[in-house]
């Protein structure tokens, strides 16, 4: 039986997350067999489909191009997935806000459980996932006929792009009278996307105010890094909420994570402790962040940051 990957895309671009979900799907297919199909649902998504067809391991790209799928609303998307699900043994997508929104709805409509934030594939029916803010790893076995799961993309290296998969249209159009898109406010950023950045520079309550985040911007620009923040910094209004790294924000695993003025609460560590190298800059030498940091520097960030920027 085959696997269906629901693609993440926005503004006519395929998100990198999809390559990671396909990598997870390939690991499952090694145990379970089956083709990997990618579903692109959206409004005017021809370019997204072309990008998906290039991804290694994809057998077929199925495209549902209609205004009703335009803003990835859960109600029509779940209905579309239900209409396709009988052809598949697995439906996967990334643990993005879209994936988290839509997939449990599909699972319940098919009367099966969902496995959230899968980070490891043990066999065709046995998977690893984090629980308790990543402080424990559960191995779970599903005997559901249809396995519905969201994938923690930082745990899988994305597949390459040497493929030329078949693209075919799906004509299914569903009704949606339950929900209506009004508008959206997206944060504009020239920097790399937080979830996929190789370097992340994050600030916490210790930054003092939003203006002081400029000190981090200079360093982020020199390193080509994304900017992140702790919940404390978001709640204090220093930066928008989509900067938040942690259990309730984004999960990142960059090559280098620089935590500045962040104490290191469990909920924050849940979002970054799989980073390859962690640097902590904090004036409190007993801050818990130093227990996970590879390199710690105790001192006043207002002195350290300008010096660091200059020496990079």
């Amino acid at each position: 039986m085959s696997l269906l990957v629901l693609a993440d895309h926005h503004d006519g671009h395929l998100d990198d997350a999809t390559a990671s979900v396909i990598a997870a799907a390939r690991q499952i297919a090694e145990h379970a067999g089956g083709d990997i199909d990618v579903l692109i649902a959206g409004d005017d998504v021809g370019r997204v489909a072309e990008a998906a067809a290039k991804l290694d391991g994809v057998t077929r790209v199925r495209v549902a191009d209609n205004a009703v799928y335009g803003h990835q609303l859960a109600e029509p998307l779940a209905d579309l997935l239900v209409s396709l699900a009988d052809d598949y043994a697995y439906v996967l997508t990334s643990a993005s806000t879209n994936g988290k929104n839509v997939l449990p709805r599909l699972a319940a409509l098919k009367d099966v459980s969902q496995l959230s934030e899968v980070m490891g594939v043990d066999s065709a029916d046995t998977f690893k996932r984090p629980i308790y803010a990543g402080n424990a790893i559960a191995t779970v076995q599903s005997s559901d006929d249809l396995k519905v799961m969201t994938i923690r993309t930082t745990a899988f290296d994305g597949v390459g792009q040497g493929n030329d998969a078949a693209i075919e249209a799906i004509d299914t159009v569903v009704d949606n009278s339950l929900s209506r898109f009004v508008d959206e406010e997206l944060a504009k950023s020239e920097r790399p996307e937080l979830g996929g950045a190789k370097v992340v520079v994050s600030g916490g309550r210790g930054m003092g105010n939003g203006e002081n985040f400029k000190l981090l911007e200079g360093i982020a620009d020199k390193l080509g890094a994304a900017l992140g923040a702790s919940r404390a910094a978001v709640d204090a209004g220093f930066v928008p909420n989509d900067y938040q790294v942690g259990q309730t924000g984004k999960i990142v695993a960059p090559e280098l994570y620089i935590a500045v003025g962040i104490s290191g609460a469990i909920q924050h560590l849940a979002g970054m402790k799989d980073s390859k190298v962690i640097v902590a800059i904090n004036k409190d030498e007993d801050a818990p962040i130093f227990q996970v940091a590879d390199y710690g520097l105790v001192g006043d960030l207002f002195e350290i940051l300008p010096e660091l920027e200059q020496k990079l």
Partner: protein, 249 residues
């Protein structure tokens, strides 16, 4: 309108968890338990809607062992009018919770049901969406703002990259994000009064729901520990280590 709020009893979010020696689960004996933080936000929102005159009654519901009544009493102290406890000692997965809550919705007919976006123990982030699917209602997940100007629900959602506004028909299911509100603390007189508020107890069997899951928990492990790092004395030393030792610059 009537509002239903689902609350879950979980380990207190400040507690550092321990995995049992036999790796069967996390050890919950003698640890501090509390209402899941996202559920507190759900209760707070329901109570605010009542204070604004939008809601007429707030009903809190929880599924779990006898001790989950503590969290229902907390919800009552915070302003819920009455509570329903579905008592079970089984491990109840999201799908079964959603099926149980659907039965409660069938009986109570609330216009709005509010849940937290995820419980901090299982970190599933599923129940609200599953409940919306089973009831055939629209879902407003990860809500950071709610308005009910007429017979519609206007909701602002926290999505990757920013905020999205939707309009949902009512009745609807909403799940709360952190920034929806700042939950209040229960005051002592309200805690005393909450002891007299009605609390019904039912069983999953009363509701005709089978709680057994097709997902079994095979093993729980502690994640690989990071090896202890070092403290450096200066910015120069830090840059040198990152360039020459860690080779990430």
């Amino acid at each position: 309108m009537k509002i239903l709020v689902a609350v879950k009893r979980v380990i207190d979010y400040n507690v550092k968890i321990r995995v049992k020696a036999d790796h069967s689960d996390v050890d919950l004996t003698n640890v501090k338990m509390a209402m899941n933080p996202f559920c507190e936000i759900a209760v707070e929102e329901a109570v605010r809607l009542k204070e604004q005159g939008v809601a007429t009654e707030v009903v809190a519901v929880s599924i779990g062992p006898k001790s989950a009544q503590e969290q229902l009493r907390t919800a009552l102290a915070l302003g819920a009018d009455r509570a329903i406890h579905i008592e079970t000692d089984e491990r109840v997965e999201s799908l079964a919770v959603a099926k149980l809550l659907k039965k409660v919705i069938d009986e109570e007919q609330p216009q709005l049901t509010i849940l937290g976006k995820q419980a901090i123990d299982t970190d599933n982030n599923q129940t609200g969406q599953m409940l919306a699917a089973l009831t055939g209602l629209p879902q407003g997940t990860f809500a950071s703002k709610l308005e009910i100007p007429d017979d519609k629900l206007q909701i602002t959602r926290e999505i990757d990259g920013g905020l999205q506004r939707l309009e949902l028909s009512l009745p609807a299911i909403v799940t709360t994000d952190l920034r929806l509100n700042e939950p209040r603390y229960a005051k002592l007189p309200d805690i005393m009064k909450a002891k007299k508020k009605p609390l019904d107890t039912k069983s999953p069997a009363d509701l005709g729901v089978e709680v057994a899951s097709k997902v079994s928990l095979l093993k729980v492990e502690t994640p690989a520990e990071r090896k202890g790092g070092i403290k450096v004395g200066s910015v120069d030393e830090l840059v040198d280590k990152l360039k020459n030792e860690a080779k990430v610059l």
